[in-house]
Subunit: 190 residues, 2 copies
Amino acid sequence: MVATQAKRADAQRSIAAILAASVECLSRNPEASVSEIAKAAGVGRVTVYGHFPNRADLVDATFARAIENGHAALEAVDLEGDPREALARLIDSSWMLVDRFRSLLTAAQDALPPGRIRTLHAGPMDRVERLVERGRAEGVFRTDLPVFWLVSVMHNVMHGAADEINAGRLDADDAGDFITATILAAFSTP
Amino acid sequence: MVATQAKRADAQRSIAAILAASVECLSRNPEASVSEIAKAAGVGRVTVYGHFPNRADLVDATFARAIENGHAALEAVDLEGDPREALARLIDSSWMLVDRFRSLLTAAQDALPPGRIRTLHAGPMDRVERLVERGRAEGVFRTDLPVFWLVSVMHNVMHGAADEINAGRLDADDAGDFITATILAAFSTP
DNA sequence: AGTAACTCGTACACGGGTGTTCGACAAGGG
DNA sequence: CCCTTGTCGAACACCCGTGTACGAGTTACT
């Protein structure tokens, strides 16, 4: 996040290229090899190892970066007002990210130690939880199920939508509405 | 499904042992090697290749068998009467299977050609779809979302519950109720 | 301009999995 | 009882990925 100091401009360019290629490759194929990523970055394989000790560390950095970017985009969403409308807005901005980074996520699941993903996810997660809690306090969201479960349902429905889109069974134009209609119904107090 | 004819009793025993070990190993580790499975079956690795040309074919057979067993168990569930109650009964019997074969599923996703899983899944899928359609016809399930989407939601919520259980965040005793409460709310006509 | 940092390609060692072959040795079926 | 069918272990060839080492060449900072 802070500019990597004491590194030559040369190296910084390489790192940027590697990270850019990494996010692109891993988003296409979660098992992309280091050679593949290096080639896509226009860089020698050895150079990659010069900046990232492991493949795991590279995946970690790539994933962390993607989360950071996504989080920044999501923070622009206004969560004030009617919780249902706020949730709809949040879903609208979120599901595309879930779709885009679907493959990168599985890469992270393979390469990163358990729990690491959740740690990186903590930031974006918090905002969702807070919104759900506010909705419960205002009586529009159900309180007979724990918050973590509701958040999990939201994640999984979005993830499922991404799979359906990827399989060609769901039109991307419909996804947002479908998810919103489903989640609002599932969250509403009975 | 039909008894493998023209095979010696010896070989049939081996095949059974391999399949049993395979389902057990792949349910623990989706990337279990052939050696591992052979060892667990108390059989030489070569013997496995004597019955299954590929690792992929072995996974296919294992997965198909698991589906078959699960399907048989699910067919015992009574789907008559109030669609909501029928759905609750179906969920109650289904989610444990999803949980148990969670890992085997990812093994299949890695090893099998795309679409193959869906083909194997077709049997159990049909019953769910028919139930949902009946619920819609009777006015208790929503019709503003396509059936395939509702079925997908149900799958993903169950799958998500399995993940939460596996991560130690969800008590298995709660899972059934949580899933049912969520899905019924999501399916009900608004 | 000179020095330290960086990159590149090749090559190597290593581990791991897959699928096949071979020969010797049981064990079932007719 | 004999012959087919299986099984076993070891060995082999193969492919692929990871991580490291080396030496030569290039690029940036001061």
